[in-house]
């Protein structure tokens, strides 16, 4: 009996048969497709029963940030010198919590670590400048009431410098960009860093590849501490999560981290880079949103109140962090020069003592316009 082609439907169906069971070798790669990625429920990956996830260095640095913040936030003079603070920040030494000492981890060589050397130097100066100002001018004045041009205490626990800046806020909110966001978006998850990493050899422990580890290190800068302990990027990602327009962002970032990591396991660079873009985009939005939010918030507070200085100091730190954001083309939403100009505006004259609500609201609008 000769086979007759019954109709075009059969032809189509038979072609389907051929392509689906068809030529051998290439089909082995089919699980590279977008739907072939196996996603775990949580950020956990293992090989032969051994976890391949490691970000202890990031956890250590986030703890260091907490420890320095606690000193800057003390309600009375902690009696700390500029050298002691710089030692903690630049050298990772001299912490009260001995587990933080001698780890080889430092904050100073990571802040703005993916900026040009020229910008990097100004970033390090921003932080060491804060530490110096605190130790030499603010801490000794904590028994006084802060005033126009005079450092001291505002309210019960807002330690202001001569410009009205609460330095612990400038420090922590600055780290959100300079440490967390820069390391994640411009560093570990960036195409130039992650695509250049080896993804075949497992390290000496036999657990992770360089590429997996890079991704984990990025993850650690966001999720390296429990949410309740974190004062940096994770905290504000979680805060935004409850706000209109940002609902679910925390879960979305977590999911993108998980999916991107799974894509690396599956050697799927396309999905990896898509997820990296989601992470960098959403984390950048947190910084932009908060910079704008706190400027508006400050404008809404009573003039010269402790709450005003506090909110504006948070805004100041978030504005500093804007230069580390990462847009769809891999550029910052605000350049280093634009950020410097905004900070100069806020510090003009006697700084926060001289700002008007209109000035703050205008700046907030300019920033929010990028969203």
């Amino acid at each position: 009996m000769k086979l007759k082609l019954v109709n075009l439907g059969v032809l189509a169906a038979s072609m389907l048969v051929m392509t689906s069971c068809g030529s051998n070798d290439n089909d082995l790669d089919d699980n590279d497709g977008s739907d072939g990625i196996q996603l775990p429920e949580t950020y956990s990956f293992s090989v032969n029963g051994n976890s391949t996830v490691s970000f202890s260095g990031q956890t250590t640095r986030l703890n260091m940030a907490n420890a320095i913040y606690a000193v800057l936030d003390a309600s009375s003079d902690p009696g700390v010198s500029k050298e002691e603070l710089e030692n903690m920040f630049l050298d990772g030494a001299g912490f009260t919590d001995a587990t933080l000492n001698g780890t080889g981890k430092k904050l100073g060589n990571k802040v703005g670590g993916y900026q040009t050397a020229e910008v990097n130097a100004t970033v390090v100066d921003y932080f060491t400048g804060i530490l110096e100002d605190y130790a030499e001018n603010v801490a000794p004045a904590l028994g006084n009431v802060a005033a126009d041009g005079i450092p001291g205490m505002s309210g019960t626990n807002r330690q202001l410098n001569a410009k009205g800046i609460e330095l612990d806020q400038a420090f922590a909110k600055g780290l959100i960009g300079a440490l967390c966001l820069d390391q994640v978006a411009n560093g570990y998850l960036s195409y130039e860093k992650i695509s250049g990493a080896d993804n075949t050899d497992r390290d000496e422990s036999g657990y992770y590849t360089d590429m997996e580890h890079y991704w984990d290190e990025g993850y650690g800068y966001v999720y390296g501490l429990d949410e309740g302990d974190d004062i940096l990027l994770q905290k504000y990602l979680a805060k935004d999560n409850n706000e209109s327009g940002y609902e679910g962002n925390n879960a979305a970032v977590m999911e993108a981290f998980i999916k991107g990591r799974a894509a690396i396991v599956a050697s799927d660079a396309t999905i990896r880079d898509e997820q990296a873009a989601i992470v960098s985009q959403k984390l950048s939005e947190v910084v932009i949103n908060k910079a704008s939010y706190y400027l508006n918030s400050a404008a809404g507070k009573a003039d010269y109140s402790a709450d005003y200085f506090h909110a504006l100091s948070e805004g100041y730190g978030f504005i500093f962090s804007l230069q580390f954001t990462y847009d769809a083309n891999g550029n910052p939403y605000f350049s280093h020069a634009e950020v410097e100009a905004m900070l100069d505006k806020l510090e003009a004259g006697n700084g926060f003592w001289d700002r008007t609500d209109t000035e703050l609201e205008e700046m907030a609008d300019d920033i929010a316009a990028k969203l």
């Binding site: 048969v17 030529s23 990031q58 630049l90 040009t116 250049g196 080896d198 290190e217």
Partner: protein, 436 residues
Amino acid sequence: MIRNYFYLVLITLFCAACEDDDRSNDNSTPILILNGDYEVFIKYGNDYIELGASAEDDTDIGINDKVIIGGDVVDVFKTGTYVVTYDVTDKDNNKAKQVERIVKVIIDRSSVLANLTDNIVLPSYNAFRSALGDFKSVANAYVNDPSEINLTTVKEHWLAAYKLWQHVEMFDIGKAEEINFNQRMNAYRTNTTLIEANIESGNYDLSADNEPSYLSQGFPAMDYLLFGLETGVLGGASDKYRNYLEALVDEMISNTDLCIADWNANRDAFVSDATNTATSSFNKLTNDFIYYYEKGLRANKVGIPAGYFGGFKFPNFVEAYYKQDVSKVLLLEAMTATENFFLGKKYGTEQTGESFKTYLETLDAETELPKEITDNYEAARQQIAKLQDNFVIQIKTNNLEFLRTFDAIQKNVPKFKVHMLQAFKISPDYADADGD
């Protein structure tokens, strides 16, 4: 989809029907038709896409799935001619006439390796060795007659050899890697305490394989002897300082000879190795080149002294710290050496051969990468031109320009490390030392 499944079932039914009826009747041979061209040229390192062959048979509807691909396995990282064969046998055991495809993988990494090895690596080593020999003779003359004029000659030859060294340091491969040649020759943070102790005791082993040993020999140790001692010490009554200078040059010569002998002995094997694994010649040479550019050149010569890595400036870690005013000259020489290597410029000439650049162009005729890289070199050179000869003073008086120099040199790191390696389909063999 439901509709398709329906037809699948239909086809199965047809086939089952065929088999029943025709089992003993089908003596016709199936026919194989090649998909795509009979002769295919693959550029070295590019993917070979197997298009397969189609089979036709008057009764066996599923025969297309039975095509067996055999013959040579195409290795796109090895030039040559491969014959891929296609066979098929229908359900009644009628075998089709075999068809074949000729696949030619053209150009190979060996031609690049040959030019780089024969026209750059070996001549650079030889020129350097010759300069060390000259240095040794003038150093001998100085030991015999420690006059000022002889000392001046020694200093000139030290700089001449140091400049040529910039053309050799990037080849950290084979014997050089094994004996930590670079560390022995040019670990900037020379340890003067160790050097003084060695000189004082006269009892030292420069061949010792440890860091104190590295930090008391090579160009930086010579730098200290020639430019870092109090006036008159080197040429003084005791010859122990001069003896140490001689011991240093002897050690440098003997290590250099080991490396040259190694290159000569292994040249053929090195050049003919056209595989693509982590330990292949081409992969190692490429990775070592990039590693040198990133660490040896960018970080050591500029980044670390500038304080880019961690907020502390280290002007005392510049290259040639005691002489000071030649750090810029050495940096420029290293820039030229790495660019020449990228371009495949034959040592001492303006003539170029097969290189990373030509290989990039072979893989992708439209590539912009070589131009971007040479433009970056040019911009970096212009930035370096703004610097003082003396980097210690530069760092102390205007570190900003020094940081900008780092940024200008950095621009080629991703070009090499990401874009060039990806074009070559080579995995990086080192990760950034992030301290985690």
